[in-house]
């Protein structure tokens, strides 16, 4: 008799659903506890119950150490340990091949590399989809994707192909991106996004003169941040791809805001302005083409993300805010890339304005779309920007010590307000912050 195999195909989905319900359950428990405490305090103050009774009720209703929460923590630990293990094995293999170069014939090296990579994928498949160990399997799958990248570099090494070559990263990226979707792996998605960012920056560096490459590479990161974020937005349009949106959107937003923040410093742009290489400055056609391709990815992704714009229930101004901020970010990048202004001042004004728009935009979008991570990113950069501008303005005016004391007091005040605002926002999201 043929026995029915266990349905591990949906194991990962089940796992995600159970994780989500675990989190919801935890939030509900905390919310209930908080509500109960509030009511009991009210009853006690009204004289309905005594202090002892209120304490007894609170102790009686207090939730024990939640086993579900413990389960979530434990599963995270498994993911961390498995991923670390996978990375260590991968690094060991690469180091072994690199160190024993003379001892292994070329054909043996090739066989070892390709068989090793394939075997890693097969083991990962068995663990993740057949035997029901999705976390360990996912970590081994991640190691397989890393092994493929190592293989690209090692084959290049066998043929003495220069490994200082950004195209190798492009090939690695193209090889692992589909795997991220098929294996539904956020870790491989993060790896692919990371390879894309490093590869494009490296490509941009190879297309520019050393004297101005720092600034132009930083500029390309602005385009890349906008592109990654937009690709994430496009992922939000379908239920099946929403799972992958977070690495793109969070990574893209962080990258764009960090680069914009760097460009708010007059010194950063002044170096560019004073650079003697600028007498013969000409951006290479390769760099322009690269920036154009990344910009095109952004525009296409935005079109995909907004093709249902007319049918959305949200107000038009809300719907257009996100694409508008992204397009402003790209325009800022082009101003820098083509060296639009000769003086540093217009750049500083432009990027300060852009940073403020980005910060308030991301907080606003976080609130409207209930994306907690965005609110946190916005608040962190708001405080960083505020502190930076404060220090720039006051250190010369007030003297260092007084500026620090006043600054410290202001920061404490801002921190207090932020804490209150954050709690209010979390309550709006229907969540309750845990204090333990």
């Amino acid at each position: 008799m043929k026995s029915e195999p266990p349905n591990y195909d949906s194991a990962q989905n089940d796992d995600q659903i159970s994780q989500r319900s675990e989190i919801i359950s935890t939030v509900h428990t905390d919310s209930r506890q908080s509500w109960l405490k509030g009511r009991i305090n009210l009853w006690r103050e009204s004289g309905l119950i005594s202090d002892e009774q209120s304490e007894s009720i609170i102790n009686f209703e207090a939730a024990p150490e939640d086993p579900i929460r413990l389960g979530v923590r434990f599963s995270r630990l498994i993911v961390v340990l498995s991923t670390l293990g996978a990375i260590l094995i991968g690094s060991g293999v690469i180091s072994f091949v690199a160190a024993n170069w003379q001892g292994i014939p070329a054909i043996a090296k090739l066989v070892f590399l390709i068989v090793g990579q394939t075997a890693t994928y097969l083991v990962a498949y068995q663990f993740q989809f057949v035997r029901g160990y999705p976390r360990v399997g996912g970590a081994i799958m991640f190691a397989g994707a890393a092994w493929f990248g190592a293989n690209v570099f090692l084959v290049a090494q066998i043929y003495h192909l220069s490994t200082d070559n950004p195209d190798l990263l492009t090939w690695w990226f193209i090889g692992v991106l589909p795997l991220a979707y098929i294996a539904r792996s956020k870790a491989i998605t993060v790896m692919a996004v990371g390879i894309f960012v490093v590869g494009i920056s490296w490509k941009a560096a190879s297309q520019t003169d050393d004297a101005v490459s720092g600034l132009l590479v930083t500029s390309i990161l602005l385009f890349v941040g906008a592109a990654i974020y937009s690709v994430g937005l496009a992922h939000m349009q379908r239920a099946s791809t929403k799972f992958f949106a977070a690495p793109y959107m969070v990574g893209g937003a962080l990258l764009a805001i960090i680069v914009t923040y760097m460009f708010t410093f007059a010194g950063f742009v002044n170096d560019y302005e004073r650079n003697s290489a600028l007498e013969n400055f000409e951006v290479s056609s390769g760099y322009i083409a690269l920036a154009a391709v990344v910009s095109a990815i952004t525009i296409v992704s935005l079109m995909v993300a907004n093709w249902k714009l007319g049918r959305s229930e949200k107000r038009l101004s809300f719907r257009l805010a996100e694409p508008a901020i992204i397009i402003l970010t790209i325009i800022g990048g082009w101003f820098m890339a083509i060296h639009m202004f000769e003086s540093a001042a217009p750049y500083v004004i432009l990027f300060n304005l852009l940073l403020v728009i980005q910060i308030f935009g991301i907080i606003g979008l976080g609130v409207i779309n209930k994306r907690e991570a965005f609110v946190n990113i916005g608040i962190v950069f708001f405080v960083i920007d505020l502190s930076t501008r404060y220090i720039e303005l006051t250190v010369d005016m007030l003297g260092t010590s007084l500026a620090f004391i006043i600054g410290g007091l202001l920061l404490l005040g801002v921190g207090y307000s932020m804490e209150r605002a954050r709690r209010r926002l979390l309550r709006q999201f229907g969540m309750m912050e845990t204090t333990h």
Partner: protein, 180 residues
């Protein structure tokens, strides 16, 4: 995993393997069928944890200047505007002569130029450009980089295909093919 996803999973793994084998095949094709050129070189000896040990090679044709720039008896002619990041083609037809003139241009040379190498401009400083040809690293067994660095005479035999892509065939140390 559904059977459709399973097939896609196998397809992605297969594409990765085909890609690696394709890379091997492409380099083997250049080595087997490419035209030979001997390039004078100067080694530097770095070491990298993950790449293994390799010798960094700088060629005579890595630094090119306009005819006004004195480079011994060699003349390099930069044709047209050449800037960083440009792909350039360097004609090598008469590189073996004591005195020669090499054309450096951004477009692929005409059919009359029977041997040329493709590179990318890394830097430009006034009338001098540096070019990378993708053959600037030669990987060696651990500990042997220093011996190569100390050699009196070093050349590299490259094979170049019809589109100008070069692959290192052998390192020639003091007139002999170098064996690890």
């Amino acid at each position: 995993m559904s059977s459709k996803l399973k097939r896609l999973f196998i397809l992605v793994i297969a594409i990765q393997i085909v890609f690696l084998l394709g890379l091997v095949g492409y380099r083997e094709t250049i080595l087997a069928g490419g035209r030979t050129a001997i390039l004078q070189t100067v080694p530097v000896d770095p070491r990298d944890l993950f790449k293994g040990e390799y010798v960094n090679l700088r060629y005579e044709i890595s630094t090119l200047g306009s005819p006004q720039v004195n480079q011994d008896s060699k003349k390099f002619q930069l044709l047209g505007d050449i800037i960083e990041g440009d792909t350039v083609y360097v004609a090598l037809s008469n590189i073996d002569g004591d005195e020669y003139s090499l054309d450096v241009q951004t477009g692929e040379p005409s059919a009359r130029t029977d041997l040329f190498i493709k590179g990318q401009v890394a830097t430009r400083n006034n009338d001098v450009i540096t070019v990378d040809y993708g053959v600037e690293q030669y990987f060696v067994p651990e500990g042997s980089g220093l011996k190569i660095e100390q050699a009196d005479e070093l050349e590299v035999r490259v094979k170049i295909n019809r589109s100008g892509t070069a692959a290192i065939d052998a390192l020639i140390v003091e007139g002999e093919d170098w064996e690890p």
